[in-house]
Amino acid sequence: MDISTLGGQILGQIPLGDIVLYLTPFNLFMFAGALIFTALIAMSRTETQIEAEFGSLKDNEVKVGLEEFKIRRFLAIVCGLATAGAMITGDLFNFTLFVALIGIVNIGIVSAVKQIDVLNAAFQYGLIAMIASLPLFGGAALVLASTGTLSLLQLSTLASTTPMMYFASLLLLMGIAGETGVAPFYATKAEMFRTPGSPFILIIHLSSLLVIVRAIEILLIINKPF
């Protein structure tokens, strides 16, 4: 499908050797959104969870220490920047690398917590993310093998779609779903959000949502179903 049909008018290109970024209102809007949210996160502080204790009238406060707060803020900023990069990139393999980076950083954000349930969920999510790197990178490699290019601008100009490209984009979809932990794999990730430290946890959600939207654009560019 044509890039300008999907993302609006092409406002310009940034050629960096064989990696060419293209700017459309669609990309720029999501890029700016990810950057603004990252800036908000860099300025914010963590929440403190208050749990009612069972069998007494006291409250149980779950706080985040300063050391842990700093690590988590750093990883959340990296996650936000990786999301912004995945929004603006014009190269399929750069996109998969940004998605893989988001997967690693998501594990890192919750890795320092003390609750065993959360660590268990992070472990399961990490296993899924690692398994998902097979279809993710494999799909990108198959697109390269069947078309000879990874640039989205060139992929959009191809006349026809071969069965190998359909297979590759199916793998790519599976990989992105596993790496960001959306619908079929959400059960592995859901428990991770029970940890305190709200704004940093939110970037896990935001990154997976934005990446899915961008992935749909990329899959439509590759497959041209209409």
């Binding site: 660590l119 990490g126 690692m130 398994i131 790197s133 990178f137 494999g138 390269l144 093998a145």
Partner: protein, 222 residues
Amino acid sequence: MIVPTVVPEFTVSIFIPALYVGLITGFIGLLGISFQKNDLSALILTDIVGVAMLVIVAAVGTDLAEALILPGLVVELAEIMAISEILMSREMRKTGNNASIFPLPFAMDMEIFSTAPNFLALILIAYGVFLTGFTGGAVAGGGILFYVIARRSRGLPIKVWEGIAGISGVAWCIWLAGFLIFFIAPELWLLGLFMSSCGILIKVASKMGLIGIMAREDLKRE
């Protein structure tokens, strides 16, 4: 036609079998994970799936695919390290014991460390500088590693150590700047090539030398 005519027919025909090998290996790894109830075994089996990913990327076999293997490998390593760290901290929290990730010091008493001739290190370093690039850095670093571990000249001051780490960082920046030149000013490709190859040479060699110094300090510690 995507594949150039200079590529032999046999090389092209091997792509589909290699793809099947990758997918089947990944499937076997997934079967193993589904049968496995032990978390540590599941983690190790997951690595098989990662290797199958490398097989699929390598099956493409162009120079671009070669450039994709390295990030794939790095992502794989980073993920397995992050997950094993999580597994360790969870187990530590369950049992209440603390353990470090590298259980040093370990005793390594080998005769070859005291009898090996010095000039082997010199040959390795000279050959590494001649090669340049990542391979040269690894070879030269191997020479430094050999010298540092085999020769028992102790007591490298901490300042020198930090200096070597600083050089390594600066060389890394030269490498990055060289790559940036490739992208923004392709007509200066020779400068970029030399900057990146010499930068990565110094970087890898000094890093491996540092590993050697650290390992020696740990070897001596009982």
